[in-house]
Amino acid sequence: MTQEKTYNRREVGALAMGAALATGGLGLATSSAQAQSNWPSKAIRFVVPFAPGGTSEIVARSVAAELTKQLGVSVYVEITGGVGNGESAKVEIQDNGHALIYTGTSPHGQGHATSWAMLANEQTGIPIENIELVWGDTDLVPIGTGTMGSRSLQQGGNAVFAVAAELVNKAKSVAARLLEASEEDIVLDKDSGSFHVAGTPAVAKTWADLALAEKQSGGLVHSDVINVSGATFPFGAHVAVVEVDVETGKVTHIAHTACDDAGKVLNPMLLEGQIHGGVAQGAAQALLEEVSYDPDGNPITSNLADYAFISAAELPSVTVVHMETPTPVNLIGAKGIGESGTIGATPAVQSAVVDAVSQFGVKHIDMPTTAEKVWAAIQSAR
């Protein structure tokens, strides 16, 4: 690699190395970024001695396009969950044995209702469909830090996991009283969601039975603020493939692979959704999105007609590679994933574009790499 840059984005240090290639018309430009050992080390020009529009030109264009695809790689370490030392959770059993979870996080598409129910189900055996999430209403959830900094699962989910475990202990003492047994002998059968004395599953108390028994003394409920010992450090690598038309400067993002290690994965589908969205926004920052101002400081991209918001047509599908290195910082082993895509994708795409045109002498292009800027950079470097 001939390039090595350090990108700083908020608290994130991302080391990016990019290499990609450019093509345009029949002038085929290949990257020199892959070190001298990689042939070819300079631009190759295809000379097609036939009229434009014929088979020969079509073949030459197709071959050129395939030859020019190379990689841009970005390796990053991220800090997540650094906001707040903990989060609140309350788990309450209703008369019918269903559970209400009150969380201090504030989901807006991340899937907390599903994930928190999975965590509570793991502790209590109450079916996921019988668990409901309450959030955002400060009358009902007076303590909470919220959803930011990729903290929700590792702090909010962790709190639900811990509080649900405590509630099971509380329920065991109630079951012991009802079954006239010692608390240590009570076991929770998570398959049926009921409590019985070890060895005698026929006589059991369900969550509903226990909730009813506790109704006069405040209900079967537990709440707490669960602290974590610190932030976590997800890491990963993103690979972007771009093509640059050197005649027009137009950049096409043709492939993207993301490997993000966010620790223990609770729900792979939700995890991938977080990565997909992050990659799109990260790539958009490198490709076209920009908040602009005129010389007097007036915003000139203040609506979606003026602001170049990335669409499906400018993006490839994303290949996600899973890697799990659990953290000891919380009970779940989860690190953050909400922002990883935005952190890995931007330097990968940006570096890929710069490397694609580096053989013309271009060393830097300010983000975003719009056609106008890429074309101008090539022209001035040539």
Partner: protein, 152 residues
């Protein structure tokens, strides 16, 4: 102005101001708030619904232009409590996160498949270019549309 518009199978005779947008009509006159307003500039597609079988951005259609026509909104897709196959595909493929773009995205996607029942991934991406989403990176939206097309 008097207009007669059939919305989700029910014919409504309404008196609207000429300037009333179709999206205002369905949201405010009929109370069908499933159709969202995103940008008001026809850029984001959140307000997409079907007018006479075609997907349109209802923030730049006047209600009077729909006079005598038939409108389908997101509320009109499910039949007898069973979701439309496109809604089902979005659910199964995690094709939504915050959900704001979803009603428009689903309507646009159905319009897309009406025109091209077996699109390639690229055709889906280009076909949905007018509908913006910040959460999903479009990956699972495209997957949902392709899944729906393949299930037909």
């Amino acid at each position: 102005m008097k207009v007669t518009i059939t919305v989700n199978g029910t014919t409504h005779e309404s008196d609207v101001e000429p300037r009333t947008l179709l999206v205002q009509y369905v949201r405010e006159s009929l109370g069908l708030t499933g159709t969202n307003i995103g940008c008001d500039t026809s850029s984001c597609g959140a307000c997409s619904l079907h007018l006479n079988g075609e997907s349109v951005k209802s923030c730049t259609v006047l209600a009077v232009q729909a006079d005598g026509g038939s409108v389908t909104t997101i509320e009109g897709l499910a039949k007898d409590g069973v979701m439309h196959p496109m809604q089902q595909a979005f659910m199964e493929n995690h094709g939504l996160q915050c959900g704001y773009c979803t009603p428009g995205m689903v309507m646009a996607a159905i319009g897309l498949l009406n025109e091209n029942p077996s699109p390639t991934e690229e055709q889906v991406r280009i076909g949905l270019e007018g509908n913006l989403c910040r959460c999903t990176g479009y990956h699972n939206i495209v997957k949902s549309v392709l899944a729906c097309a393949n299930n037909k």
